[in-house]
């Protein structure tokens, strides 16, 4: 029996940077979200999948397709979401 995918589901590519990548253990992955597919819910899903990220949740910067978007921004299929901790030094 095949998996039934709700047509309202949205699949995004999430890329993890720096210590977020270290915590998650990989550089990127695809995540499917059901409606409402916004940044807040995506972040919630990411934390659900990788509970250790909750330690740095409040300092994570989220960008979509290389831009900063509001939390209510509606994600679309194929969007690229970057999870970036604060940067410093160098």
């Amino acid at each position: 029996m095949g998996v039934v995918v709700d047509s309202k589901d949205v699949k995004v590519r999430v890329t993890y940077f720096a210590l977020a990548r270290e915590i998650v253990g990989k550089g990127e992955e695809d995540i499917t979200l059901s409606s409402p597919a916004n940044i807040v819910n995506l972040l919630g899903r990411v934390i659900e999948m990788h509970p250790s990220l909750s330690k740095v949740e409040r300092i994570i910067h989220v960008m979509v397709n290389g831009r900063v978007e509001l939390n209510a921004y509606q994600l679309k299929n194929g969007d690229r979401v970057s999870i970036i901790p604060p940067v410093s030094g160098g």
Binding site: T15, F17, A18, L19, R21, E22, I23, G27, K55, V56, R58, I59, I60, H61, V62, M63, G66, R67, V68, S82, I84, P85, P86, V87, S88, G89, G90
Partner: protein, 630 residues
């Protein structure tokens, strides 16, 4: 006077005269150490008519009260002078072990004047000092001369600060290296001043312990802090990769310059990243005196066209940008080699990269040809040509003689509008953080006395937090993040971070491990270590006042030496050309919108740009106020 030795070594090189003088208690109280201590001596003693490469300029190596004590990352020293690149206040900071060793050898600072009649090096061992002939080392690269000096002294445990061919040839962005050339006081051309004095090296050996007030208290705080940092994710990331671990996220944010600050996206950041291809060359991480962060990458290229010696120190974030992305070079072996060449020659990687980026753009616009560059085709991306040009710069051969003057002077010599793509402030080439990505950096670059130097006050650690979020590591700062591409709140962020950075440096700590946000190192430990070292209390507010005092001292020096406020600017490219792509696309640097609020916070006179008399007097800088407002 615990923490300090209480002694400053004065070396007059023309006559070869060495004297010791006591550390002035008032200077120590107000300016503390490192850049502050050295800065006040420089302010008081360099005549306004002295050119940077004249014998009358001073070159000062200074430690802080915690340098050489067991507090975490307490190993720094500053090298301060009138800069040959800018003509204004020049300071560079370095880590490693040299500074701690100088302290153990019995001195808080060394003040050098004059010019030796022939090349010399200074040897300091447990309070005994002499000038020795360095003719046989003159011409050697940094690493070879470091090793040769130690071998000839028979002192394998000595630490050496020295210059390479670039310093000897008075390249205006030459460095003073230390610790086998692996640590560098890089910016402002301090190495050229050392070369102008015909001083090849300062070797130090100290077997004394730095006297402290309460060593058990230092060790208790150290144990507590080390445990805290080893369990903190941010700290562990820094310990694993050093600043190259910030390369990928900074690229993503559009912070790292590409192709002389014209592009917002790099072809393949993974080539220069860790994790990424760069990680394949990493063998270890080294550390500095009394530091558990181990941020220094150790690399080897064992064979091939870019072979290096075994276990050299590899490029950190700035160099990945300056000799990588900003030259559009994506070959990590080439960038590793370019970094190593700069270390051997004694060249600042940021300024070298900056002037070469300018030259590449000039070449691609047809103003320079391969004939001008001894056959080098200096297109963006050409790492092999870049290596040849670095050598030309270090030895001032052909057009390298022009490039050795720095981007500002080189663009004035070439002319034909090339000043438009000379990316510098006050003559100092910009580091690898784009103010179009972090607007707070507009103020650090435009207003810092030394020119564009990110280590005068980085704002990215706050600006890269989610909007409205306070730094979890530095609640004392009282700063919340605002939109990094906007202007709100940036004046205050820049003001606080600049003061923190000056004070942290003055105390003798490493900025990367303790103030930048690169680790979780809370400020209270800096102050605990300071108290345990010296027996003196210092509150966070007092620490900030020290920072503010030093920041204003440096600015006052500049006005004393002829600066006008129109030097507080940014390159037109950043003000007018939006980034076309990447994480900060569409953004320009909004300096104009920030100036008034910042100058008000700083207490500077709006028409002249000078610190107001009332500002200076509130900081107990009455002598400076009297001179500046005479």
């Amino acid at each position: 006077m615990l923490g300090y030795t209480g002694k400053i070594l004065h070396v007059e090189l023309t006559r070869g005269k060495i004297t010791e003088k006591p550390l002035d208690k008032e200077i120590q109280r107000l300016y503390v150490g490192c850049v502050g201590l050295a800065g006040k001596i420089l302010y008081d003693q360099v005549p306004i008519w002295a050119g940077p490469l004249d014998p009358e300029n001073l070159l000062i190596f200074a430690t802080g009260p915690v340098t050489g004590t067991p507090g975490l990352s307490a190993g720094r020293h500053s090298v301060v002078t009138k800069s040959p690149l800018t003509g204004y206040f020049g300071d560079a900071s370095a880590g490693g072990f040299w500074g701690a060793e100088l302290k153990k050898a019995g001195f808080d600072a060394i003040v050098l004047t004059g010019r030796a009649p022939r090349p010399v090096f200074l040897w300091v061992k447990d309070g005994v000092t002499e000038l020795r002939d360095a003719t046989s080392y003159w011409g050697m690269n940094v690493r070879d001369s470091d090793r040769a000096v130690k071998k000839d002294l028979g002192e394998t445990n000595a630490w050496v600060a020295n210059i390479g061919p670039a310093g000897e040839n008075l390249v205006r962005f030459a460095t003073v290296s230390n610790d086998d050339g692996d640590r560098v006081a890089a910016r402002c051309g301090v190495g050229a001043v050392m070369g102008s004095k015909r001083l090849k090296a300062i070797a130090v050996r100290g077997t004394n312990k730095v006297p402290v007030s309460d060593e058990p208290a230092i060790r208790d705080s150290l144990k507590e802090l080390t445990k805290l940092m080893s369990s903190d994710q941010t700290s562990r990331w820094m310990m694993k990769w050093g600043t190259s671990g910030a390369f990928a996220p900074m690229m993503e944010l559009g912070d790292t310059p590409i192709r002389n600050w014209t592009s917002g996206e790099f072809k393949d950041p993974s080539k220069l990243s860790t994790p990424g291809e760069y990680a394949n060359y990493r063998q270890a991480q080294r550390t500095c005196f009394s530091c558990t962060v181990h941020c220094r990458p150790v690399v080897t290229i064992p064979e091939g066209a870019y072979k290096t010696e075994a276990k050299v120190e590899g490029p950190e974030y700035e160099t990945l940008g300056a000799l990588g992305t900003n030259l559009d070079i994506g070959n990590v072996e080439q960038v590793i080699k370019l970094n190593d060449l700069c270390n051997l020659y004694g060249l600042d990687t940021i300024s070298a990269g900056g002037v070469i980026a300018w030259a590449m753009e000039s070449y691609e616009r047809g103003l320079l040809t391969a004939h001008d560059l001894q056959g080098c085709e200096l297109n963006f991306g050409n790492g092999d040509s870049t290596m040849k040009v670095l050598e030309m710069i270090a030895y001032r051969r052909g057009f390298g003689d022009v490039l050795a003057e720095g981007t500002r002077r080189a663009s004035r010599i070439l002319g034909h509008g090339s000043e438009k793509w000379a990316i510098e402030v006050k003559g100092l080439e910009l580091p690898m953080h784009d103010p179009r990505a972090f607007q707070g950096m507009c103020l650090t670059y435009a207003f810092s006395a030394v020119g564009a130097d990110h280590m005068e006050g980085e704002t990215m650690g706050i600006e890269s937090l989610p909007v409205g979020q306070e730094s979890p590591y530095f609640p004392e700062y009282g700063l919340k993040s605002t939109d990094r591409l906007g202007v709100e709140g940036k004046a205050r962020i820049a003001y606080i971070m600049q003061n923190v950075y000056q004070a942290t440096t003055a105390l003798g700590y490493c900025l990367l491990s303790s103030a930048s946000g690169g680790t979780c190192y809370p400020i209270k430990y800096n102050l605990q270590f300071y108290k345990a070292a010296t027996g003196l209390d210092m509150s966070f507010e007092e620490m900030m006042r020290v920072g503010e005092r030093i920041y204003n001292l440096k600015r006052a020096f500049n006005f004393k030496h002829g600066m006008r406020k129109d030097e507080d600017r940014l390159p037109e490219r950043l003000l007018k050309e939006p980034l076309p792509s990447g994480g900060s696309r569409g953004s320009v640097a909004h300096l104009e919108a920030l100036v008034k609020e910042y100058c008000d916070i700083r207490g500077w006179d709006p028409s002249s740009g000078k610190p107001k008399r009332t500002t200076l007097e509130a900081l107990q800088m009455h002598d400076v106020a009297d001179e500046l407002w005479a």
